[in-house]
């Protein structure tokens, strides 16, 4: 299997003190991959490194065979990588529809954006009702829908999600994960960072466990879900 995203020997820092150490990680085409770990394990930093938001990176990150390690963040989306950041980061003073259209900025194609809007409204009908509302006035769950929908506007080959269930009500979390499975079923590869380990392992094909900036464990998600170390450390069973 050739990997869609291939990370080899990746280390990175924000300036002082390395936060990622020698990471090797692959995401296959159409794969659903989860990265789990404690709060400060470096999960978000790893995602930021992929998206070009981490100032100092060594090692190699390749997407579809192309080295993207040194690419600035704004050049990454055009390759087909959509990153839904932690904390949602919607544009608060733009309407829901304007937010979604910004997601297609890198495509620069009005017709594809129009089709994307309809597809996102199919995925999240709630957003269609709220299309004219300012995103900053939405509930947390609705903002997360905007953030994921905005990512999907890019017609990505890889969708990166950072803690999409953080701070959401349990019912909304369930719905969000159903939508992620739906997106995955359409053929989009997913790289999910999630503090809700049970849910993450439930959705994913494979998972990596990150601890103190290193890969500690990896394997098929169902095997990890049965692993005693994981059960004790993250599932509390």
């Amino acid at each position: 299997m050739t990997a869609l995203l291939e990370i080899a020997g990746l280390s990175g820092s924000y300036g002082q003190g390395e936060v990622l150490h020698d990471i090797d990680l692959q995401v296959g085409a159409r794969e659903f991959l989860a990265v789990i770990g404690a709060n400060t394990a470096g999960k978000s930093t790893l995602l930021r490194a992929i998206s070009g938001l981490l100032p100092q990176v060594t090692g190699r990150i390749a997407f579809d065979g192309t080295d993207i390690t040194a690419l600035p963040a704004n050049r990454i989306p055009a390759l087909g990588i959509a990153h839904v950041p932690e904390g949602r980061h919607v544009f608060p003073m733009m309407s829901v529809e304007e937010n979604l259209r910004m997601g297609a900025y890198a495509l620069d194609d009005r017709r594809r954006a129009d089709r994307g809007i309809e597809r996102v409204f199919g995925l999240f009908p709630r957003l269609k009702e709220r299309r004219r509302q300012l995103a900053g006035t939405l509930s947390g769950g609705e903002q997360q829908m905007v953030a994921v929908g905005r990512g999907m506007m890019l017609e990505p080959r890889l969708l990166i999600l950072d803690e999409p269930s953080l701070g959401l009500a349990p019912m909304v979390v369930e719905e969000m994960h159903d939508r992620l499975l739906e997106i995955h079923a359409e053929g989009v590869a997913i790289l999910l960072v999630e503090q809700n380990v049970g849910l993450a392992l439930d959705c994913a094909d494979r998972a990596y466990v990150l601890a103190s900036g290193r890969i500690e464990l990896q394997g098929p998600a169902d095997e990890l879900a049965r692993d005693d170390r994981i059960r004790q450390a993250y599932l509390g069973i």
Binding site: S51, G52, L53, P72, A73, N74, R75, I76, P77, A78, A82, H83, P85, H89, V90, F91, P92, M93, M94, E98, R101, M102, G103, Y105, A106, D108, L134, G136, T137, L138, S139, R150
Partner: protein, 296 residues
Amino acid sequence: MQTIYTLTQTLVDGLLIGGIYAVISIGLSLVFGVMHIVNFAHAEFLMIGMFVAWYAWAWLGLDPMLGAFLALGVTFLLGMGMQRVLIKPILAAPQVAQIFLTVGLLFALENAALLLFGADYRSVSTPYQTEALSLFASGGERIIVPYAKLFAFLMALGLGASVWLFLQRTRTGQAMRATAQDATAARLMGIDTDRMYMLAFGLGTGTTAFGGAVILPYITASPTVGSQYVVLMFTAVVLGGLGSVAGAVVGGLLVGLIQSFSALVLPIQLQNLILFVIFIAVLALKPEGILSRRTG
């Protein structure tokens, strides 16, 4: 008691000057909104705009209403260059460093102007300068609208509307608004935020310079002319809500109206007194500006 004519005249005067305050404040607000930098040197670009328009008139015979477009172009490029060389390195610096830089830039620009243009007051003469529209004349009463102020107002209105349309309707304008609202998210959308910062600074300085150029027929240019406007500009922007273009327009019009109406009850030398009392009251009671909407 004031007659209806006096009140209407006051309203017209306030709106005419308020429109100018609006367009010069849009530039300041844009720079703050996109870059979150308070540019204390911003009023100097109004002065530069006036001088560009003056030289365009003196050397090329261009009317300031046309010279304004030249001023816009020149200061747009100048602003972009300055952003690249001076502002960009301190974008992530502590606020103190930013204040030092822009205040320093204010003095540097003012003195450079003194060196280049001399301390003389420069004015233009245009055919419409001394003409005025006379409206609703009856008996001894009428409403006077000087052409110079009317043209300046209309030009300001046109540019303000263009900037607004640019921000709302164009791909680059939308990217600029996205950058202003969340720069990290903007980069994740594929927006070159460094380019947006540069464009926003150029557009901000250009807009303010345009506002300076169109008032040249009734305000004389000098290297220190910016200082007459800097406080008014900041007042307008804070009244309307920092970073909001619509807010800058409302704030600018309000400043003009408050100045104009306070001249009815107070001596003209005190025309800014009521303005600043209102300014301080807004800062104390609604510091986010009177036009701001709260978002969750």
